[in-house]
Symmetry: none
Subunit: 209 residues, 4 copies
């Protein structure tokens, strides 16, 4: 994902490496960090600016408003995850293997970026309700991967066919998601990815005939 030109600027061709790209990413990182720490509504735009070592006004060169800053932060993180997930899952044949891989990927990704995990657990949920359906789209995509694997497993006869595919997907996602939540709230920062196998084990046992 390329850092865009500042919003107000007219297009210009520059021979020197852009520094703005740097700023754009710094603001995004600072946003994740600050929103994770304080929550979207409690965080002030100037907190983000300060953490990004940027003037308040600079943020508005890149983002229309505070909300867009949150959305962009969430989306770019989510998009990166989905792109990786899609690629990795393609290489795996068995539905169970796919789900197992997805669980690991999910927990690894968030387990290695606690701030992002917090923002996704807390703010994404809010944004799904209130803000643009933009972010809802990501969840739909994610669930798409899960449901496809489950449906395929049912067709192949390895998963119980009497289960409703959507309910099963919710159980799968919910179980993983709750691991993240409890990890986020936990004081002792054990490696989140360690539990991936256990979770996958329970859910897959529940799905398999």
């Amino acid at each position: 994902m390329r850092a865009p030109e500042p919003r107000r600027s007219r297009i210009k061709i520059s021979h020197k490496p852009r520094v703005s790209g740097d700023k754009y990413q710094r603001i995004l990182d600072a946003a994740i960090s600050v929103f994770a720490e304080k929550g979207f509504y409690v965080a002030r735009v100037s907190d983000v600016a300060e953490r990004a070592s940027v003037a308040d006004g600079t943020i508005y060169l890149y983002f229309r408003n505070k909300e867009e800053l949150l959305m962009t932060a969430i989306n770019s993180a989510f998009a990166a995850f989905m792109s990786r997930a899609r690629t990795e899952l393609e290489a795996i044949a068995s539905p169970a293997g796919k789900l197992r891989r997805l669980a690991l990927l999910h927990l690894e990704t968030l387990g290695s970026n606690r701030e992002l995990a917090i923002v996704l657990q807390m703010e994404l949920r809010q944004s799904v309700r209130f803000l643009v359906p933009f972010s809802q789209q990501h969840m739909v995509e994610y669930f798409g991967l899960v449901r496809a694997a489950i449906a395929e497993g049912q067709k192949q006869g390895v998963f119980r066919s009497e289960l409703h595919e959507k309910i099963a997907a919710n159980c799968f996602f919910g179980a993983i998601d709750e691991m993240v939540t409890s990890w986020v709230l936990d004081e002792t920062f054990y490696p989140l990815s360690d539990v991936a196998d256990s979770v996958a084990d329970i859910i897959l046992s529940g799905l398999e005939r």
Copy 2:
């Protein structure tokens, strides 16, 4: 839970039936309703007052501030649920039966009170992070019920003993929780309790040896 005296009241013995209890509960109901609709931060105290047909200032006779209003609303709802859950579970012997009953109770309760469901899904999570550990306590209690049932099942040999009890509890809770979330976000309001069996089925199959 008893409706308390307004905070600032001077000591006074009244022979008239309390109308304050009425107002107290109306404010609490209005709070759930408004917070569900707009979210805690977007909702204004005056919105709650208006929905409760009460003056803005009246709210501060019963609650120290906006935050306490949220906490109290969440807690009173949660306490009611936990009290019922505890009672009902006592009457059930088998660990699997307990979990099955809990799933149904959880989904029935929230499925019959959408606004409450929304507040718990969205605001409880936030409050667990930021506000008093007060609300965290409830979660701990809830998980206590789940973990006790799982541990008992393992001791009885009906649940696989190699599973980490806490992880299993997370899977159970997460699966149910995600059903609520997806129901809350779903446009089509199907009866949430209908899925209780399916969810319990998947998770229990995953737990049972």
Copy 3:
């Protein structure tokens, strides 16, 4: 014109004399005064609040925003003038007498309230262009009085009938208006109403056959 209830308040019946009316008028007066001194755009809302001895937020109990504050200030002043003008002109039979009276009234009113004069000279003009056609309406009414008198004079044969009524009205108004402007800009505060006769004399001589 009655001072309205604060905007946010729910209707309430009070037996005590309202103090808010006091505040409403104080804010309006302060607005005229501050806008006269600094101009609408340079004046800060907090300047108005300070001059009215009121908190910043109080202004927003009575006015939706800064612009509405200006509009209301202008309109209430203008409405008072127009109401008086209409009444007085009714009592006068001859068209020339009416115009002469109007000139005096105009110059007396503004000459005795320099701040109002400034706001009308400077801000009304702007508002006529940019803001609601609300304020334009007032000008149309004023010109209505002038044009009616001119038309009547032409019908009676005392004013030259070859003159375009609208152009004549513009000359009349423009001459008076310019007297106000030059008085507003002048350092020496001579009584503005003193020049009413001279101005009326010149214009009426120009109109009469």
Copy 4:
């Protein structure tokens, strides 16, 4: 009026034809246009820059600040008008003829440049109050022409000598000015210069003995 060197330019002798003059004038034109459209305070410097196809910063090479940009724009337009007016009036002998010519010139000039008319009607007035007495000077000069003609007419006995020369000048100017204002606000863009004769007729009749 010569386009000056950009303010911060280092001394340098250039053999190439000046393009800067081009930019200087483009900025001035853009300023008139944008200020006419939005008003001085609502217009942003970047609006002017955009309309002049120039970078924001470039404007500050030629003008100290936004205010100076307005003042210069007004002054250069006014100066051009005054220079032409002075020349033309010299060639006319009779005071009445001079005033008649001035009315036509005024209405022709503004009638053929609506944007300039708007800026002068709206912004000049403001600037006369708040900004440098710089612009006031122009008005004084203009009035000087009018008053000289009136005084001369009184000396020659063609204008009524009992009239106060300054009041008469105000009537003359106010009448013309109001024609411009009403034309500016009017939707139907009739030729402004067409009314010059009528206006001059009314005022001169008022002045003549």
